[in-house]
Protein backbone atom coordinates (compact mmCIF):
# COMPACT_ATOMS: atom_id res chain seq x y z
CA UNK A 1 0.00 0.00 0.00
CA UNK A 2 2.74 2.36 1.00
CA UNK A 3 4.60 1.51 -2.22
CA UNK A 4 1.50 2.30 -4.27
CA UNK A 5 1.09 5.64 -2.52
CA UNK A 6 4.73 6.44 -3.13
CA UNK A 7 4.35 5.60 -6.81
CA UNK A 8 1.26 7.84 -7.13
CA UNK A 9 3.10 10.63 -5.37
CA UNK A 10 6.12 10.26 -7.66
CA UNK A 11 3.92 10.28 -10.74
CA UNK A 12 2.13 13.41 -9.52
CA UNK A 13 5.43 15.19 -8.98
CA UNK A 14 6.63 14.02 -12.41
CA UNK A 15 3.54 15.29 -14.19
CA UNK A 16 2.73 18.49 -12.37
CA UNK A 17 6.22 19.78 -11.72
CA UNK A 18 7.23 19.53 -15.37
CA UNK A 19 8.23 22.83 -16.94
CA UNK A 20 5.96 24.78 -19.21
CA UNK A 21 7.12 24.57 -22.83
CA UNK A 22 6.94 27.15 -25.51
CA UNK A 23 3.85 26.87 -27.67
CA UNK A 24 4.66 28.76 -30.85
CA UNK A 25 3.15 27.83 -34.24
CA UNK A 26 4.33 24.52 -35.65
CA UNK A 27 4.50 23.61 -39.31
CA UNK A 28 6.46 20.38 -39.53
CA UNK A 29 8.86 17.81 -38.20
CA UNK A 30 12.21 16.59 -39.47
CA UNK A 31 13.32 13.13 -38.41
CA UNK A 32 16.75 11.53 -38.67
CA UNK A 33 16.86 7.85 -37.83
CA UNK A 34 18.97 4.71 -38.01
CA UNK A 35 17.85 1.12 -37.91
CA UNK A 36 19.06 -2.41 -38.44
CA UNK A 37 17.22 -3.60 -41.55
CA UNK A 38 17.30 -7.21 -42.64
CA UNK A 39 15.67 -7.75 -46.04
CA UNK A 40 13.84 -11.05 -46.14
CA UNK A 41 15.26 -12.02 -49.51
CA UNK A 42 15.70 -15.65 -48.58
CA UNK A 43 12.02 -15.95 -47.63
CA UNK A 44 10.90 -15.72 -51.24
CA UNK A 45 8.80 -18.74 -52.11
CA UNK A 46 11.01 -20.00 -54.93
CA UNK A 47 14.10 -19.77 -52.75
CA UNK A 48 12.42 -21.45 -49.81
CA UNK A 49 11.33 -24.27 -52.11
CA UNK A 50 14.88 -24.63 -53.42
CA UNK A 51 16.23 -24.92 -49.89
CA UNK A 52 13.48 -27.33 -48.89
CA UNK A 53 14.14 -29.55 -51.87
CA UNK A 54 17.86 -29.58 -51.09
CA UNK A 55 18.93 -27.93 -54.34
CA UNK A 56 20.30 -25.04 -52.28
CA UNK A 57 21.78 -25.26 -48.82
CA UNK A 58 21.33 -21.61 -47.91
CA UNK A 59 19.53 -18.63 -49.30
CA UNK A 60 21.43 -16.13 -51.45
CA UNK A 61 21.37 -13.39 -48.79
CA UNK A 62 22.79 -15.69 -46.14
CA UNK A 63 25.41 -16.99 -48.58
CA UNK A 64 26.63 -13.62 -49.82
CA UNK A 65 26.15 -11.43 -46.77
CA UNK A 66 26.32 -13.94 -43.92
CA UNK A 67 22.97 -12.69 -42.64
CA UNK A 68 24.34 -9.23 -41.89
CA UNK A 69 21.87 -6.43 -41.21
CA UNK A 70 21.80 -3.26 -43.27
CA UNK A 71 22.30 -0.06 -41.30
CA UNK A 72 19.47 1.95 -42.82
CA UNK A 73 19.62 5.74 -42.53
CA UNK A 74 16.41 7.64 -43.16
CA UNK A 75 15.48 11.30 -43.37
CA UNK A 76 11.82 12.22 -43.07
CA UNK A 77 9.94 15.47 -43.43
CA UNK A 78 6.44 15.67 -41.95
CA UNK A 79 4.22 18.54 -43.00
CA UNK A 80 1.67 19.09 -40.20
CA UNK A 81 -1.72 20.14 -41.50
CA UNK A 82 -3.94 19.36 -38.54
CA UNK A 83 -3.26 20.26 -34.94
CA UNK A 84 -6.00 19.82 -32.37
CA UNK A 85 -6.32 16.53 -30.55
CA UNK A 86 -2.87 15.40 -31.62
CA UNK A 87 -1.32 16.33 -34.93
CA UNK A 88 -1.74 14.87 -38.39
CA UNK A 89 0.98 15.14 -41.04
CA UNK A 90 1.83 14.10 -44.55
CA UNK A 91 5.40 12.86 -44.70
CA UNK A 92 8.04 12.28 -47.35
CA UNK A 93 10.96 10.05 -46.46
CA UNK A 94 14.17 9.03 -48.20
CA UNK A 95 16.59 6.42 -46.94
CA UNK A 96 19.81 4.68 -47.82
CA UNK A 97 21.42 1.46 -46.73
CA UNK A 98 24.04 -0.94 -48.04
CA UNK A 99 25.52 -4.29 -47.20
CA UNK A 100 28.72 -5.82 -48.55
CA UNK A 101 29.72 -9.45 -48.82
CA UNK A 102 31.78 -11.84 -50.89
CA UNK A 103 30.80 -13.71 -54.01
CA UNK A 104 31.13 -17.48 -54.09
CA UNK A 105 33.21 -19.54 -56.50
CA UNK A 106 30.86 -21.14 -58.96
CA UNK A 107 32.91 -24.34 -58.84
CA UNK A 108 32.72 -25.14 -55.14
CA UNK A 109 30.65 -22.37 -53.51
CA UNK A 110 33.53 -21.25 -51.32
CA UNK A 111 34.01 -17.58 -50.55
CA UNK A 112 36.02 -15.55 -53.03
CA UNK A 113 37.79 -12.19 -52.99
CA UNK A 114 35.18 -10.57 -55.23
CA UNK A 115 32.98 -8.13 -53.35
CA UNK A 116 29.26 -7.99 -53.96
CA UNK A 117 26.82 -5.53 -52.49
CA UNK A 118 23.14 -4.72 -52.09
CA UNK A 119 22.16 -1.06 -51.85
CA UNK A 120 18.64 0.13 -51.10
CA UNK A 121 16.94 3.50 -51.26
CA UNK A 122 13.47 3.35 -49.66
CA UNK A 123 11.24 6.29 -50.64
CA UNK A 124 8.04 6.75 -48.65
CA UNK A 125 4.86 8.76 -48.71
CA UNK A 126 3.25 8.49 -45.29
CA UNK A 127 0.43 9.78 -43.13
CA UNK A 128 1.55 10.43 -39.55
CA UNK A 129 -0.50 10.89 -36.39
CA UNK A 130 1.25 12.08 -33.24
CA UNK A 131 -0.69 11.88 -30.01
CA UNK A 132 1.00 14.89 -28.39
CA UNK A 133 -1.99 15.70 -26.15
CA UNK A 134 -0.22 14.20 -23.15
CA UNK A 135 2.81 16.44 -23.54
CA UNK A 136 0.88 19.61 -24.41
CA UNK A 137 -1.87 19.42 -21.81
CA UNK A 138 -0.31 17.51 -18.98
CA UNK A 139 3.41 17.87 -19.67
CA UNK A 140 4.02 14.16 -19.83
CA UNK A 141 7.18 14.02 -21.97
CA UNK A 142 6.02 11.14 -24.14
CA UNK A 143 4.44 11.27 -27.58
CA UNK A 144 3.14 8.05 -29.11
CA UNK A 145 2.75 8.08 -32.88
CA UNK A 146 1.70 5.93 -35.78
CA UNK A 147 2.53 6.11 -39.46
CA UNK A 148 1.29 4.39 -42.56
CA UNK A 149 1.63 4.76 -46.30
CA UNK A 150 3.31 3.82 -49.52
CA UNK A 151 6.88 2.69 -50.05
CA UNK A 152 8.86 2.55 -53.24
CA UNK A 153 12.18 0.89 -52.58
CA UNK A 154 14.92 1.19 -55.17
CA UNK A 155 17.64 -1.42 -55.03
CA UNK A 156 20.87 -2.28 -56.81
CA UNK A 157 23.19 -5.28 -56.63
CA UNK A 158 26.83 -4.91 -57.66
CA UNK A 159 29.27 -7.55 -58.85
CA UNK A 160 32.97 -7.93 -58.16
CA UNK A 161 33.89 -5.23 -60.66
CA UNK A 162 31.59 -2.76 -58.92
CA UNK A 163 29.16 -2.77 -61.83
CA UNK A 164 25.46 -3.53 -61.68
CA UNK A 165 25.24 -7.31 -61.59
CA UNK A 166 23.52 -9.22 -64.38
CA UNK A 167 22.60 -12.82 -64.90
CA UNK A 168 21.01 -14.47 -67.90
CA UNK A 169 19.79 -11.16 -69.25
CA UNK A 170 18.33 -10.06 -65.90
CA UNK A 171 19.79 -6.89 -64.44
CA UNK A 172 20.37 -6.67 -60.71
CA UNK A 173 18.51 -3.45 -60.05
CA UNK A 174 14.94 -2.40 -59.71
CA UNK A 175 12.23 -0.89 -57.58
CA UNK A 176 9.48 -2.43 -55.48
CA UNK A 177 6.19 -0.90 -54.43
CA UNK A 178 4.66 -1.70 -51.07
CA UNK A 179 3.09 -0.60 -47.82
CA UNK A 180 4.56 0.57 -44.56
CA UNK A 181 3.17 0.74 -41.06
CA UNK A 182 5.00 2.12 -38.03
CA UNK A 183 4.32 2.66 -34.36
CA UNK A 184 6.63 4.55 -32.09
CA UNK A 185 7.17 6.49 -28.94
CA UNK A 186 9.01 9.79 -28.70
CA UNK A 187 10.56 11.25 -25.59
CA UNK A 188 10.32 15.06 -25.42
CA UNK A 189 13.87 16.27 -24.87
CA UNK A 190 12.62 19.74 -23.84
CA UNK A 191 11.69 18.16 -20.54
CA UNK A 192 15.39 17.78 -19.70
CA UNK A 193 16.17 21.48 -20.05
CA UNK A 194 13.22 23.80 -20.56
CA UNK A 195 15.38 26.93 -20.78
CA UNK A 196 17.50 25.48 -23.52
CA UNK A 197 14.35 24.33 -25.31
CA UNK A 198 12.95 27.88 -25.18
CA UNK A 199 16.25 29.25 -26.51
CA UNK A 200 16.15 26.78 -29.39
CA UNK A 201 12.63 27.94 -30.18
CA UNK A 202 13.58 31.61 -30.11
CA UNK A 203 16.94 31.30 -31.89
CA UNK A 204 16.43 28.41 -34.28
CA UNK A 205 12.68 28.08 -34.53
CA UNK A 206 12.78 24.53 -33.18
CA UNK A 207 9.72 24.22 -30.98
CA UNK A 208 10.37 20.76 -29.63
CA UNK A 209 12.98 18.08 -30.02
CA UNK A 210 12.50 14.36 -29.45
CA UNK A 211 14.39 11.13 -29.15
CA UNK A 212 12.25 8.33 -30.47
CA UNK A 213 12.09 4.61 -31.04
CA UNK A 214 10.00 3.27 -33.87
CA UNK A 215 8.93 -0.17 -34.94
CA UNK A 216 8.54 -0.40 -38.71
CA UNK A 217 6.87 -2.93 -40.89
CA UNK A 218 8.32 -2.07 -44.27
CA UNK A 219 6.80 -4.43 -46.78
CA UNK A 220 7.61 -3.46 -50.32
CA UNK A 221 6.42 -6.84 -51.56
CA UNK A 222 3.07 -7.01 -49.83
CA UNK A 223 0.00 -7.01 -51.99
CA UNK A 224 -1.04 -3.44 -52.81
CA UNK A 225 -2.53 -1.47 -55.67
CA UNK A 226 0.88 -1.27 -57.33
CA UNK A 227 2.07 -4.74 -56.46
CA UNK A 228 4.08 -6.68 -58.98
CA UNK A 229 4.53 -10.42 -58.88
CA UNK A 230 7.88 -12.11 -58.38
CA UNK A 231 9.78 -9.27 -56.81
CA UNK A 232 12.79 -9.64 -54.59
CA UNK A 233 11.57 -9.60 -50.98
CA UNK A 234 12.95 -6.51 -49.31
CA UNK A 235 10.35 -6.38 -46.56
CA UNK A 236 11.29 -6.47 -42.90
CA UNK A 237 9.99 -5.60 -39.47
CA UNK A 238 12.61 -3.74 -37.49
CA UNK A 239 13.32 -1.06 -34.92
CA UNK A 240 14.90 2.24 -35.66
CA UNK A 241 15.93 5.08 -33.41
CA UNK A 242 16.43 8.74 -34.07
CA UNK A 243 16.00 12.39 -33.34
CA UNK A 244 13.07 14.55 -34.39
CA UNK A 245 12.84 18.31 -34.51
CA UNK A 246 9.46 20.03 -34.58
CA UNK A 247 9.50 23.53 -36.00
Amino acid sequence: MSRALAAVFAASVFVFSAPAWADTPISGVIELKLGGYFPQVDAETGIRNAIASGSASKGPYASAFADKHILLFQLEYDHEFFQAFGSLSAALSVGYGEVYGKGLFDSDSTSSSDTTSLKVWPLKLLAVYRFDVLSRRWHVPLVPFIKGGLVYELWRISNGAGETASSNGRTGEGGNWGWEGDVGLAFVLDWLDADLANDMDMDLGINHSYFFAEWSDMSPIRSNPFSQPNRIRLNDKFFDFGLAFEF
Binding site: A56, G103, L123, L154, A165
Partner: protein, 387 residues
Protein backbone atom coordinates in the same frame (compact mmCIF):
# COMPACT_ATOMS: atom_id res chain seq x y z
CA UNK B 1 52.66 57.63 -1.12
CA UNK B 2 53.84 59.61 -4.16
CA UNK B 3 56.70 57.19 -4.74
CA UNK B 4 54.37 54.32 -4.37
CA UNK B 5 52.02 55.75 -6.98
CA UNK B 6 54.89 56.49 -9.35
CA UNK B 7 56.22 53.02 -8.98
CA UNK B 8 52.83 51.57 -9.58
CA UNK B 9 52.43 53.65 -12.71
CA UNK B 10 55.85 52.66 -13.93
CA UNK B 11 55.18 49.00 -13.33
CA UNK B 12 51.87 49.32 -15.14
CA UNK B 13 53.57 51.00 -18.06
CA UNK B 14 56.23 48.30 -18.16
CA UNK B 15 53.63 45.61 -17.93
CA UNK B 16 51.73 47.17 -20.82
CA UNK B 17 54.92 47.26 -22.84
CA UNK B 18 55.56 43.66 -21.99
CA UNK B 19 52.16 42.44 -23.04
CA UNK B 20 51.72 44.79 -25.99
CA UNK B 21 52.06 42.85 -29.23
CA UNK B 22 55.23 43.58 -31.13
CA UNK B 23 54.78 45.14 -34.55
CA UNK B 24 54.30 42.27 -36.97
CA UNK B 25 57.42 41.67 -39.05
CA UNK B 26 56.74 42.03 -42.74
CA UNK B 27 56.58 38.69 -44.49
CA UNK B 28 57.17 37.73 -48.08
CA UNK B 29 55.07 35.12 -49.85
CA UNK B 30 57.20 32.04 -50.68
CA UNK B 31 57.85 31.37 -54.37
CA UNK B 32 55.62 28.69 -55.88
CA UNK B 33 56.62 25.97 -58.35
CA UNK B 34 53.85 23.69 -59.56
CA UNK B 35 54.45 20.80 -59.46
CA UNK B 36 57.31 20.79 -57.03
CA UNK B 37 58.73 17.30 -57.71
CA UNK B 38 60.42 16.25 -60.93
CA UNK B 39 61.90 13.00 -62.16
CA UNK B 40 64.15 11.62 -64.86
CA UNK B 41 61.33 11.72 -67.39
CA UNK B 42 60.92 15.46 -66.87
CA UNK B 43 64.66 15.84 -67.22
CA UNK B 44 64.77 14.00 -70.53
CA UNK B 45 61.87 16.08 -71.78
CA UNK B 46 63.66 19.21 -70.51
CA UNK B 47 60.44 20.28 -68.85
CA UNK B 48 60.38 23.98 -67.96
CA UNK B 49 59.57 24.75 -64.33
CA UNK B 50 57.58 27.92 -63.88
CA UNK B 51 58.19 29.60 -60.53
CA UNK B 52 55.90 32.42 -59.52
CA UNK B 53 57.05 34.96 -56.98
CA UNK B 54 55.23 37.90 -55.46
CA UNK B 55 56.85 41.12 -54.32
CA UNK B 56 55.34 43.05 -51.42
CA UNK B 57 54.98 46.75 -50.69
CA UNK B 58 57.48 47.64 -47.93
CA UNK B 59 56.05 48.97 -44.72
CA UNK B 60 58.53 51.84 -44.91
CA UNK B 61 58.89 54.33 -47.75
CA UNK B 62 61.67 53.35 -50.13
CA UNK B 63 63.08 54.74 -53.34
CA UNK B 64 64.23 51.43 -54.76
CA UNK B 65 62.90 47.92 -54.45
CA UNK B 66 64.78 44.94 -55.88
CA UNK B 67 63.91 41.26 -56.06
CA UNK B 68 66.24 38.29 -56.37
CA UNK B 69 65.44 34.59 -56.86
CA UNK B 70 67.75 31.60 -57.13
CA UNK B 71 67.76 27.86 -56.39
CA UNK B 72 70.40 26.14 -54.32
CA UNK B 73 70.89 22.84 -52.55
CA UNK B 74 72.46 24.78 -49.69
CA UNK B 75 70.55 26.83 -47.17
CA UNK B 76 69.28 30.16 -48.37
CA UNK B 77 71.92 32.71 -47.29
CA UNK B 78 71.11 35.80 -45.24
CA UNK B 79 71.88 39.39 -46.12
CA UNK B 80 75.36 40.70 -45.50
CA UNK B 81 75.53 44.08 -43.78
CA UNK B 82 73.90 46.80 -45.90
CA UNK B 83 74.32 44.67 -49.04
CA UNK B 84 71.98 45.56 -51.89
CA UNK B 85 72.00 41.96 -53.17
CA UNK B 86 72.42 38.46 -51.84
CA UNK B 87 75.53 36.40 -52.55
CA UNK B 88 74.47 33.35 -54.56
CA UNK B 89 76.01 30.03 -53.38
CA UNK B 90 78.36 28.25 -55.75
CA UNK B 91 75.76 25.69 -56.79
CA UNK B 92 73.11 28.37 -57.20
CA UNK B 93 70.91 28.54 -60.28
CA UNK B 94 69.84 32.15 -60.77
CA UNK B 95 66.26 32.65 -61.82
CA UNK B 96 66.06 36.38 -61.20
CA UNK B 97 69.17 38.54 -60.83
CA UNK B 98 68.81 41.47 -58.45
CA UNK B 99 66.62 43.76 -60.45
CA UNK B 100 64.69 46.87 -59.68
CA UNK B 101 60.93 46.45 -59.47
CA UNK B 102 58.78 49.12 -61.06
CA UNK B 103 55.60 47.67 -59.64
CA UNK B 104 54.53 45.35 -56.87
CA UNK B 105 52.88 42.05 -57.80
CA UNK B 106 53.32 38.50 -59.04
CA UNK B 107 55.76 37.53 -61.77
CA UNK B 108 57.05 34.26 -63.17
CA UNK B 109 60.56 32.99 -63.75
CA UNK B 110 61.57 29.75 -65.44
CA UNK B 111 64.26 27.17 -64.98
CA UNK B 112 64.63 23.75 -66.55
CA UNK B 113 64.67 20.34 -64.94
CA UNK B 114 67.97 19.66 -66.74
CA UNK B 115 69.48 22.48 -64.66
CA UNK B 116 68.72 20.47 -61.53
CA UNK B 117 70.42 17.27 -62.72
CA UNK B 118 74.03 16.85 -61.75
CA UNK B 119 76.29 18.52 -64.30
CA UNK B 120 78.03 15.99 -66.48
CA UNK B 121 75.78 13.14 -65.51
CA UNK B 122 72.70 14.27 -67.30
CA UNK B 123 69.30 12.82 -66.74
CA UNK B 124 70.39 9.21 -66.49
CA UNK B 125 72.40 9.61 -63.32
CA UNK B 126 70.35 8.40 -60.39
CA UNK B 127 70.16 11.17 -57.87
CA UNK B 128 67.77 12.72 -55.44
CA UNK B 129 68.09 16.25 -54.15
CA UNK B 130 65.98 18.94 -52.57
CA UNK B 131 66.57 22.41 -53.88
CA UNK B 132 65.72 25.54 -51.94
CA UNK B 133 64.08 28.33 -53.88
CA UNK B 134 65.45 31.47 -52.22
CA UNK B 135 63.44 34.62 -52.83
CA UNK B 136 64.46 38.05 -51.58
CA UNK B 137 63.07 41.54 -51.69
CA UNK B 138 65.60 44.27 -50.94
CA UNK B 139 64.84 47.92 -50.40
CA UNK B 140 66.47 51.02 -48.97
CA UNK B 141 64.09 52.90 -46.66
CA UNK B 142 63.94 56.68 -46.77
CA UNK B 143 64.90 58.20 -43.43
CA UNK B 144 62.90 60.81 -41.57
CA UNK B 145 65.31 63.49 -42.79
CA UNK B 146 64.98 62.58 -46.46
CA UNK B 147 68.12 60.49 -46.87
CA UNK B 148 68.34 56.72 -47.17
CA UNK B 149 69.24 54.16 -44.57
CA UNK B 150 70.77 50.67 -44.83
CA UNK B 151 69.36 48.12 -47.27
CA UNK B 152 66.73 45.86 -45.77
CA UNK B 153 66.16 42.29 -47.07
CA UNK B 154 62.93 40.32 -46.80
CA UNK B 155 63.31 36.62 -47.46
CA UNK B 156 61.09 33.60 -48.14
CA UNK B 157 61.84 30.05 -49.14
CA UNK B 158 60.20 27.03 -50.71
CA UNK B 159 61.57 23.79 -52.06
CA UNK B 160 61.83 21.80 -55.29
CA UNK B 161 62.65 18.12 -55.50
CA UNK B 162 64.59 16.48 -58.28
CA UNK B 163 64.47 12.72 -57.93
CA UNK B 164 65.65 10.50 -60.74
CA UNK B 165 65.82 7.40 -58.56
CA UNK B 166 63.11 4.99 -59.68
CA UNK B 167 61.31 3.01 -57.02
CA UNK B 168 62.35 -0.58 -56.51
CA UNK B 169 60.27 -3.38 -57.91
CA UNK B 170 57.32 -4.50 -55.82
CA UNK B 171 56.86 -8.18 -55.07
CA UNK B 172 53.61 -9.93 -55.83
CA UNK B 173 52.64 -11.59 -52.56
CA UNK B 174 49.54 -13.33 -53.84
CA UNK B 175 47.02 -13.40 -56.63
CA UNK B 176 43.43 -14.31 -55.88
CA UNK B 177 41.09 -15.17 -58.71
CA UNK B 178 38.14 -12.91 -59.35
CA UNK B 179 35.37 -13.04 -61.91
CA UNK B 180 37.04 -11.89 -65.15
CA UNK B 181 39.63 -10.12 -63.02
CA UNK B 182 42.43 -10.78 -60.56
CA UNK B 183 43.05 -9.55 -57.02
CA UNK B 184 46.72 -8.83 -56.55
CA UNK B 185 48.33 -8.30 -53.16
CA UNK B 186 51.77 -6.80 -53.34
CA UNK B 187 54.64 -6.17 -50.99
CA UNK B 188 55.41 -2.55 -51.69
CA UNK B 189 59.00 -1.46 -52.23
CA UNK B 190 60.58 0.43 -49.37
CA UNK B 191 60.54 3.75 -51.23
CA UNK B 192 58.57 6.28 -49.24
CA UNK B 193 57.16 8.28 -52.12
CA UNK B 194 55.21 5.60 -53.99
CA UNK B 195 52.14 7.19 -55.57
CA UNK B 196 50.79 4.37 -57.70
CA UNK B 197 51.31 1.18 -59.63
CA UNK B 198 51.04 -0.12 -63.15
CA UNK B 199 49.65 -3.63 -63.47
CA UNK B 200 50.57 -5.57 -66.60
CA UNK B 201 48.48 -8.61 -67.49
CA UNK B 202 48.87 -10.92 -70.47
CA UNK B 203 47.67 -14.43 -71.25
CA UNK B 204 50.39 -16.69 -69.89
CA UNK B 205 50.41 -18.69 -73.12
CA UNK B 206 51.57 -15.65 -75.04
CA UNK B 207 54.42 -14.73 -72.72
CA UNK B 208 57.87 -15.86 -73.67
CA UNK B 209 59.98 -16.49 -70.63
CA UNK B 210 63.74 -16.50 -70.47
CA UNK B 211 65.87 -19.59 -70.32
CA UNK B 212 66.41 -19.22 -66.60
CA UNK B 213 62.74 -18.94 -65.98
CA UNK B 214 61.03 -21.26 -63.64
CA UNK B 215 57.54 -22.00 -62.66
CA UNK B 216 55.96 -23.45 -59.62
CA UNK B 217 52.33 -24.13 -59.71
CA UNK B 218 49.74 -26.08 -57.91
CA UNK B 219 47.83 -28.85 -59.43
CA UNK B 220 44.62 -27.54 -58.02
CA UNK B 221 41.73 -26.96 -60.26
CA UNK B 222 42.01 -23.83 -62.19
CA UNK B 223 43.93 -21.75 -59.70
CA UNK B 224 47.49 -21.82 -60.69
CA UNK B 225 49.87 -20.37 -58.19
CA UNK B 226 52.87 -20.33 -60.38
CA UNK B 227 55.56 -17.77 -60.49
CA UNK B 228 58.48 -17.55 -62.74
CA UNK B 229 61.26 -15.20 -63.49
CA UNK B 230 60.96 -13.09 -66.52
CA UNK B 231 64.15 -12.00 -68.10
CA UNK B 232 63.44 -9.59 -70.84
CA UNK B 233 60.14 -11.22 -71.41
CA UNK B 234 57.97 -10.21 -74.26
CA UNK B 235 54.46 -11.05 -75.09
CA UNK B 236 54.48 -12.83 -78.37
CA UNK B 237 51.52 -14.77 -79.47
CA UNK B 238 52.09 -18.44 -79.88
CA UNK B 239 55.56 -18.51 -78.46
CA UNK B 240 56.67 -20.46 -75.47
CA UNK B 241 54.74 -20.68 -72.31
CA UNK B 242 55.27 -21.52 -68.72
CA UNK B 243 53.35 -22.04 -65.59
CA UNK B 244 51.13 -24.73 -66.95
CA UNK B 245 49.02 -26.44 -64.39
CA UNK B 246 50.77 -29.11 -62.46
CA UNK B 247 54.24 -28.28 -63.61
CA UNK B 248 56.98 -27.43 -61.25
CA UNK B 249 60.48 -26.29 -61.65
CA UNK B 250 63.26 -24.37 -60.11
CA UNK B 251 66.33 -22.49 -61.01
CA UNK B 252 69.27 -21.16 -59.18
CA UNK B 253 68.26 -18.39 -56.89
CA UNK B 254 64.60 -19.03 -57.35
CA UNK B 255 62.46 -18.48 -54.34
CA UNK B 256 59.28 -19.62 -55.95
CA UNK B 257 56.76 -21.08 -53.63
CA UNK B 258 53.83 -23.16 -54.57
CA UNK B 259 50.50 -22.69 -52.99
CA UNK B 260 48.05 -25.36 -52.15
CA UNK B 261 44.73 -23.63 -52.32
CA UNK B 262 42.70 -23.22 -55.42
CA UNK B 263 42.21 -19.58 -54.64
CA UNK B 264 45.52 -18.38 -53.40
CA UNK B 265 48.84 -17.65 -54.87
CA UNK B 266 52.01 -16.79 -53.11
CA UNK B 267 55.02 -17.07 -55.23
CA UNK B 268 57.89 -15.08 -56.44
CA UNK B 269 61.15 -15.92 -57.97
CA UNK B 270 64.29 -14.04 -58.59
CA UNK B 271 64.91 -12.35 -61.82
CA UNK B 272 67.64 -13.60 -64.03
CA UNK B 273 68.77 -10.23 -65.17
CA UNK B 274 67.83 -7.22 -67.17
CA UNK B 275 66.38 -5.47 -64.20
CA UNK B 276 67.17 -3.02 -61.50
CA UNK B 277 65.98 -2.77 -57.98
CA UNK B 278 65.32 -6.48 -57.70
CA UNK B 279 62.75 -6.57 -60.48
CA UNK B 280 62.41 -7.80 -63.99
CA UNK B 281 61.96 -6.41 -67.42
CA UNK B 282 58.35 -5.67 -68.17
CA UNK B 283 56.14 -7.62 -70.51
CA UNK B 284 55.21 -5.82 -73.67
CA UNK B 285 53.26 -6.57 -76.76
CA UNK B 286 49.78 -6.37 -78.18
CA UNK B 287 48.34 -8.89 -75.71
CA UNK B 288 49.50 -7.01 -72.64
CA UNK B 289 46.84 -5.08 -70.75
CA UNK B 290 48.27 -2.15 -68.79
CA UNK B 291 46.27 -0.73 -65.90
CA UNK B 292 47.29 2.41 -64.01
CA UNK B 293 46.39 2.49 -60.32
CA UNK B 294 46.73 5.96 -58.79
CA UNK B 295 46.99 4.79 -55.25
CA UNK B 296 49.70 3.45 -52.98
CA UNK B 297 47.31 0.78 -51.67
CA UNK B 298 48.86 -2.66 -51.85
CA UNK B 299 45.69 -4.59 -52.67
CA UNK B 300 44.91 -4.13 -56.33
CA UNK B 301 42.11 -5.42 -58.52
CA UNK B 302 42.73 -5.47 -62.25
CA UNK B 303 41.98 -4.97 -65.00
CA UNK B 304 38.42 -3.76 -64.34
CA UNK B 305 35.05 -4.05 -65.99
CA UNK B 306 36.03 -2.40 -69.26
CA UNK B 307 38.77 -4.96 -69.99
CA UNK B 308 37.41 -8.25 -68.65
CA UNK B 309 39.69 -11.26 -68.58
CA UNK B 310 38.58 -14.70 -69.69
CA UNK B 311 37.64 -17.00 -66.85
CA UNK B 312 39.62 -20.23 -66.82
CA UNK B 313 42.55 -18.77 -68.74
CA UNK B 314 45.88 -18.40 -67.00
CA UNK B 315 47.37 -14.90 -67.02
CA UNK B 316 50.85 -13.61 -66.28
CA UNK B 317 50.93 -10.56 -64.05
CA UNK B 318 53.60 -7.97 -63.29
CA UNK B 319 53.44 -4.83 -61.21
CA UNK B 320 55.68 -1.77 -61.30
CA UNK B 321 55.68 1.19 -58.94
CA UNK B 322 55.66 4.93 -59.67
CA UNK B 323 56.82 7.68 -57.36
CA UNK B 324 55.87 11.30 -56.76
CA UNK B 325 58.52 12.52 -59.18
CA UNK B 326 56.98 10.46 -61.96
CA UNK B 327 59.73 7.82 -62.02
CA UNK B 328 58.63 4.30 -62.88
CA UNK B 329 60.61 1.39 -61.50
CA UNK B 330 61.26 -2.07 -62.86
CA UNK B 331 58.53 -4.67 -62.96
CA UNK B 332 58.05 -7.35 -60.39
CA UNK B 333 58.78 -10.91 -61.32
CA UNK B 334 55.91 -12.57 -63.11
CA UNK B 335 53.21 -14.30 -61.13
CA UNK B 336 50.37 -16.28 -62.58
CA UNK B 337 46.68 -16.26 -61.83
CA UNK B 338 43.52 -17.63 -63.34
CA UNK B 339 40.21 -15.75 -63.10
CA UNK B 340 37.23 -17.91 -62.30
CA UNK B 341 33.49 -17.57 -62.54
CA UNK B 342 32.19 -16.16 -59.27
CA UNK B 343 28.57 -15.88 -58.27
CA UNK B 344 27.73 -12.44 -56.96
CA UNK B 345 24.57 -11.91 -54.92
CA UNK B 346 22.39 -11.47 -58.00
CA UNK B 347 23.66 -14.68 -59.58
CA UNK B 348 23.11 -16.46 -56.28
CA UNK B 349 19.59 -15.02 -56.11
CA UNK B 350 18.60 -16.00 -59.64
CA UNK B 351 20.35 -19.35 -59.31
CA UNK B 352 18.43 -20.16 -56.13
CA UNK B 353 15.08 -19.63 -57.77
CA UNK B 354 14.59 -15.92 -57.14
CA UNK B 355 11.93 -14.69 -59.50
CA UNK B 356 12.57 -10.95 -59.77
CA UNK B 357 13.16 -10.07 -63.42
CA UNK B 358 15.26 -7.04 -62.43
CA UNK B 359 15.30 -3.65 -64.05
CA UNK B 360 13.10 -0.65 -63.38
CA UNK B 361 9.88 -0.29 -65.31
CA UNK B 362 8.71 2.97 -66.81
CA UNK B 363 5.37 2.51 -65.06
CA UNK B 364 7.14 2.60 -61.70
CA UNK B 365 8.87 5.84 -62.51
CA UNK B 366 5.74 7.50 -63.86
CA UNK B 367 3.69 6.43 -60.85
CA UNK B 368 6.34 7.67 -58.46
CA UNK B 369 6.59 11.02 -60.19
CA UNK B 370 2.81 11.36 -60.28
CA UNK B 371 2.55 10.71 -56.55
CA UNK B 372 5.32 13.15 -55.73
CA UNK B 373 3.77 15.77 -57.99
CA UNK B 374 0.37 15.30 -56.36
CA UNK B 375 1.94 15.66 -52.93
CA UNK B 376 3.67 18.88 -53.89
CA UNK B 377 0.47 20.29 -55.39
CA UNK B 378 -1.41 19.52 -52.19
CA UNK B 379 1.26 21.24 -50.10
CA UNK B 380 1.30 24.25 -52.40
CA UNK B 381 -2.49 24.47 -52.30
CA UNK B 382 -2.50 24.42 -48.53
CA UNK B 383 0.14 27.14 -48.35
CA UNK B 384 -1.88 29.35 -50.68
CA UNK B 385 -5.00 28.65 -48.66
CA UNK B 386 -3.33 29.54 -45.39
CA UNK B 387 -1.88 32.72 -46.93
Amino acid sequence: MFWTRSKASAFAALAMLAVAPAAAAQTLTPPVATPSAFGAGDCRADTPINVSYTSAAPTQSANTIKVQLFATKESCPGQESNASSIAVPSDGIVLVSPQVQNSIGTQTATLHVTDLADPGGGCDVAQSATWNLCFYELYQPISTFGGTTDWVALQSTSTLTYDSLPPNAPQIASIQPGDQQLHIDIDAPSDTDITGYTVLIAPAATVQFGTAASSASTGSSGASTAASSASGSTASSGSGSSGSSGSAGSDSGSTGASGSSSSSSTAASSSSGGSTGGGSACMSGPDVISVQVSSAATSLTAPGADQPLQNGVQYAVQVQASDSAGNTGPCSVVALGTPQRIDDFWRLYTGAGGGDPGGCSQTDGITLLALLGAGLLVLRGRKKGSA
